[in-house]
Symmetry: D2
Subunit: 410 residues, 4 copies
């Protein structure tokens, strides 16, 4: 892109060293006005320092946007995804994937508001996040210009980055001078770590990489029990206490953390084509998934449940690949949401040293209740003789095949 | 079926009270010759007492068939299913489901051998097992007559069963006189329990129901580490020691048992239409699934892996519903098996108080190796600039949609 | 079912000989009050004679229900199904399948209204229609009693039926005394024929079986052109003239009939397990499907279109099998309906001797328009260089596989 | 790519003006040795002129490769794809898509043979073919260099191309001086046309665009009948005469051509992200698809048939997108091939003015035969009473849902 083309850019700005370098690089390379957007998605960092740093780097006060997105994040992104029981490649709860569309959407909203023609993110050129950010940008503002510094600049080593920072008076925390032994991403749903010390998939994850959970070995010796209440597929209360989406997830995170729940060491397939090894900590999400499956098990009909299971891998792939704002994700979402109409009730769970176990479920909408189980008179009756006809007609085509086999002597 | 139509019947005979009653009931009601088939699928019971009991009940020695099926069971049923990472309704490892087709197949083979025209099983009229047995029978011998006593007789209470047993001099163990508090099924892969004390899904599973695993709380305070070697998708060695399929699974069961691994409390949807609550213990299988996913994570291409994940729910449903011998299961199997060609290598696992964690994986066929990760020269190069084109073409349709939205003012 | 258990039954009554026999049989066998329900679904028969005949057979005037369901049928059943482009086994447009749930639903509504405890249909015991009727009944009124005379009575031959009719003074048209050479079902969407002369799938369908279309050979020698307008996935106008759903389909039927469109000779797989050979005439529906695919081709995004194509076989199977009122059909429907939001515009078609061809499509919501095709400045730009990155990242995993193959010498 | 990096390149060379320009451009721009590969895939052009032209342009005789691939094309690419009944977006028979992997594979084989380090194709930067070629190249030779002149050079107009040709003494046929009104691709399976006069999807395809079929209006006034014999899913004979794959397809093409069969006017979604409008003529393939579905209808079990229908859209998408050599396509292929074991028999077809109709099917492996249809004694018996149990158990979950609805008053 011709550098002179960009007039105003909205940068996803964390306040950290890397995005501060990007901020300065945008000013010096593109000569454009920079608008910063800093979001609280529950990553556990103060936002005000980001404002101070942006001011220090010459951003006009009216160009600094800081927003607490925690409730929106959980309510409109995390919860809809958990309605789908979405798990990527059988294991990953999509903690990073689900945050990117929201950040992208907010950047575009700000761009529309301040009349910016470009947006910028700090994701590298080898990862999935660049795709997730940019697909969101393009879907919501098709004519937007996208700047991805890590794919463009020549600051290709830590040394060059530090030099650039020093040259532009960007404050550098001591521990940021050297290469980090791994990189992390965090939000209310999870913390992920990857790179460097994690790159050999034959080697165990070093203990110091974990930050969101205690080791199962260090968790309490006695189990913790809790209940989670659901309404229409979403968790609404813990131990009977109603909580907002973000507060509820935070509470589950606390419970998961101390009980050593939600660690995952995974080699996964990136959308950009290579395998990577990551370590994920999703304490609350791991509990939530188990609880949701628990309440679904008594309130969801088999046909709906199996259809959901069949659609899930595609849904998870779409979220992972960054297609949150694509029509096919929205089609799957309405189908999933339709199924959640009666997914209401209470699940009781046991947490113990890394294990989360559903130990009870009840619901006014239960499809499993006394009269149905025992099939006494008055309810839907179950006649054992019906099973014969059921089996015989299901067997009919297999018998026909068997006869052909016999006829053919094969 | 007209009672006089049956001449000789092959009964799936455990040697226990219930199938002994069936044996006698067949003799007295159908007046037919009874052939017994007792299989060792690793349920952990002696087989010789079954022979003695059959003799006692008047079965001719040449009509008593006893077979150790453990290796065949694991090699030709359990392992192919685990290649698929098959899990029913997100959680159940299909331990009962996978054993039924093999028993059915053996009954039919014996029927052909001894010239029997009928087969008989002891499954009830409300469960899935009747379907699994009978679909196997009909698929393999389309003209076979099927006798399902629990759907036919009038021995509809425990009292009547005991009366019938006493009347026919069938030995009754003391603990079999009353109603069992729950019923179980066991084989080398798992033990399942259901009924009575488990019928309220809001209530926790009582401790005494578990028989195959210690509670996580009672497992050792230190982790156990092991390696599992795979060849073409199947486990072949533990800690470097080659083991036959059944021996290997038994070894994993031992490891799982002591470490409290593989308990599952589940409300599931039966094929015959109602929900039921079951408790499953699958110690070795739970380890095996984690290990298999671990080795696949470095040896399986993304396209193959995702296709497998998409096909899996249907595969699992087919196995659960009893369609092992159906063409669509066989089609899925060859597709799955094709993908396993290079699923060879070693996985290192950690077992600790109910947790099974993959902590390392390596393979000569790894698609994740040093030169690919760092993408240095000489190997497949990764050019970060390619990501831009990749994203832009993937975004093209989303941008077009965005433009329509803008054009329409929606 | 104990005969004395039924007090009042709602019979799906056509006024023809067979359902008149059923009517009388219900009275004499069950000794219950019979309520008749006769619906106009566009089968092309007068309804008043059915009323007269019901009166003649002793039905009280207040127990005779006659309803014109044509608009409801097309609007709420046919059109939603066509939004899905539903085709069973690659060819069958589901004309019979889609009518059954509506009839079943109306019977249940009448049963609730008149306080009937039972419903009755005239479908045979070998076909799909019994399943479709009864699944509808049970879904909508779980405690209803279902009477299926063809599975119950001993009127197992034409002779016995005629005897029964004569015995009970049921009028018999001359051409109804013998066995029909084939049986038919008709409604506004299609006419199906099967049985007897059609039973050998190696033999061509005799000319006299066709009733809804001329042979292509007898169609006009010049093409007919028409336009169909769509709004949100549903056809709303022909040649610019707005028409109600039923009127529109009737008009398409007329156009299809004269142009020899919509004949299908098919061997299909019934839900009850056997193959059957049917002949279908769906003149208007065949045009409608082509038109709908035509308008979708310019208004539907690829992601949405491909997801629809992937879901369609399951949707069609559900409709065919009679699961219209099942949650999984409803989930699929909302996903499909979601995709139809902008499926609005005009399709031009050519009809000629059995062929229906889309020759033009246009829409205010088109995703294919001049600026997008030529990709000039100002619109979404397409940079050919992006293709390289797109291809290289898509190729990355294939290259990695290729390297493994080379490394392994395989 | 640095121009000096390429030493020897294998060019897919048609002998036409465009690839001759590419040939010369490679010599002048890359200064590398050019190897030409010209394949006969049934496009209906002489190959020897391509050799003469290559010699004329300075290619060494030993660097000119000409191969007749017609049999390999049909046997190993077209037929496997037709086993899947593959249709892209409901209509397109994938005639262009299926040819590209074979050409790519041959280029790579020649590259290995002559020690070339690069390959080159003449596909444009906006289409699917570049993807198909290059995915094949990269899959089979991961370190190959790919040259795509249309994405690289500055010959961006017809005028510049002609100038370049004149400048380098490339012979120019008179009709090649101006812009063609549309572009075409042809092989034994189909001819496609797109661009220019076809770009407005609201306008009909002009008559002169068609080259492989007569208009239905100009086809004979009487029907043509033929039989096609299949063995294990592949066509092997027409009217009882055994034919090789390519000869058979050519024969079907002749029959299709004169009867006006196989024209398709389509707006489709390209993999690179935009919609395009194409016109396809697939005379023989259209007959083959109908015939294959016909023989499957009596020889394929329902479970296998429905699984095939569900997998098909993904299979077709993979072929369309160019993933022929991807593991997931191969997995689907083995599943499909497995299903074809008994797809053997004879189909009788009627061709008439654009219509192709199956009018009879027979097979020694038929799952539809007299004894099964009428279900007389001795065969697999069908007991109508079984239908009741079948329906009631299938209805059980719907009844349970209905009861919940009633209980909840919803």
């Amino acid at each position: 892109m011709a550098k002179s083309d960009v007039k105003k850019v909205v940068l996803a700005y964390s306040g950290g060293l890397d995005t501060s370098i990007i901020l300065k690089w945008l000013q010096t390379t593109y000569g454009c006005e920079v608008v910063t957007f800093t979001a609280d998605l529950g990553q556990g960092e103060e936002l005000e320092p980001a404002r101070q740093k942006a001011l220090l780097l010459g951003i006009k006060p009216e160009n600094i946007f800081i927003e607490d997105l925690r409730e929106e994040f959980v309510r409109d992104y995390v919860f809809p995804m958990f309605r789908a029981n979405a798990v990527y490649e059988g294991q990953y709860l999509l903690g990073t994937s689900i945050a990117r569309p929201l950040i992208g959407k907010k950047q575009i909203e700000i761009a529309e508001q301040v009349g910016a023609d470009a947006v910028c993110h700090g994701a590298t050129g080898k990862g999935n996040d660049q795709v997730r950010f940019e697909l969101a940008y393009y879907a919501l503002k098709p004519d937007v210009k996208v700047i991805a510094p890590w794919r463009e600049w020549d600051l290709t080593s830590r040394t060059k980055l530090i030099e650039f920072a020093e040259q532009h008076q960007i404050p550098i925390a001591k521990d940021k001078r050297g290469e980090a032994p791994f990189s992390t991403d965090a939000n209310l749903l999870h913390t992920s770590s990857e790179g460097k010390v994690l790159e050999d998939p034959a080697q165990d994850v070093p203990d110091y990489v974990y930050s969101r959970t205690v080791a199962p070995e260090d968790a309490p010796d006695h189990a913790t029990f809790l209940t989670v209440d659901f309404e229409r597929g979403d968790a609404v209360a813990i131990d009977g206490v109603k909580l907002s989406p973000a507060t509820l997830l935070a509470k589950l995170n606390d419970l998961g953390r101390v009980n050593g729940i939600g660690r995952l060491d995974l080699v996964e397939n990136r959308y950009v084509g290579m395998k990577s090894r990551g370590m994920y900590e999703t304490p609350g999400g791991t509990i939530l998934l188990a609880a949701h499956r628990g309440i679904e098990s008594i309130t969801l009909d088999r046909g709906a449940a199996h259809l959901k299971d069949e659609l899930m891998p595609k849904y998870a792939e779409l979220v992972y690949n960054g297609f949150w704002f694509a029509p096919e994700r929205e089609m799957l979402q309405v189908a999933i949401d339709k199924s959640q109409e009666f997914v209401t009730g209470r699940v009781r769970l046991k947490l113990y040293k890394g294990n989360v176990t559903v130990v009870g479920r009840e619901s006014p909408y239960s499809l499993y209740d006394q009269e149905l189980v025992t099939f006494e008179e008055g309810a839907v009756a179950y006649d054992q003789h019906d099973a014969q006809g059921f089996i015989k007609l299901n067997a009919l085509r297999l018998r026909t095949l068997g006869q052909r086999r016999k006829r053919m002597g094969t």
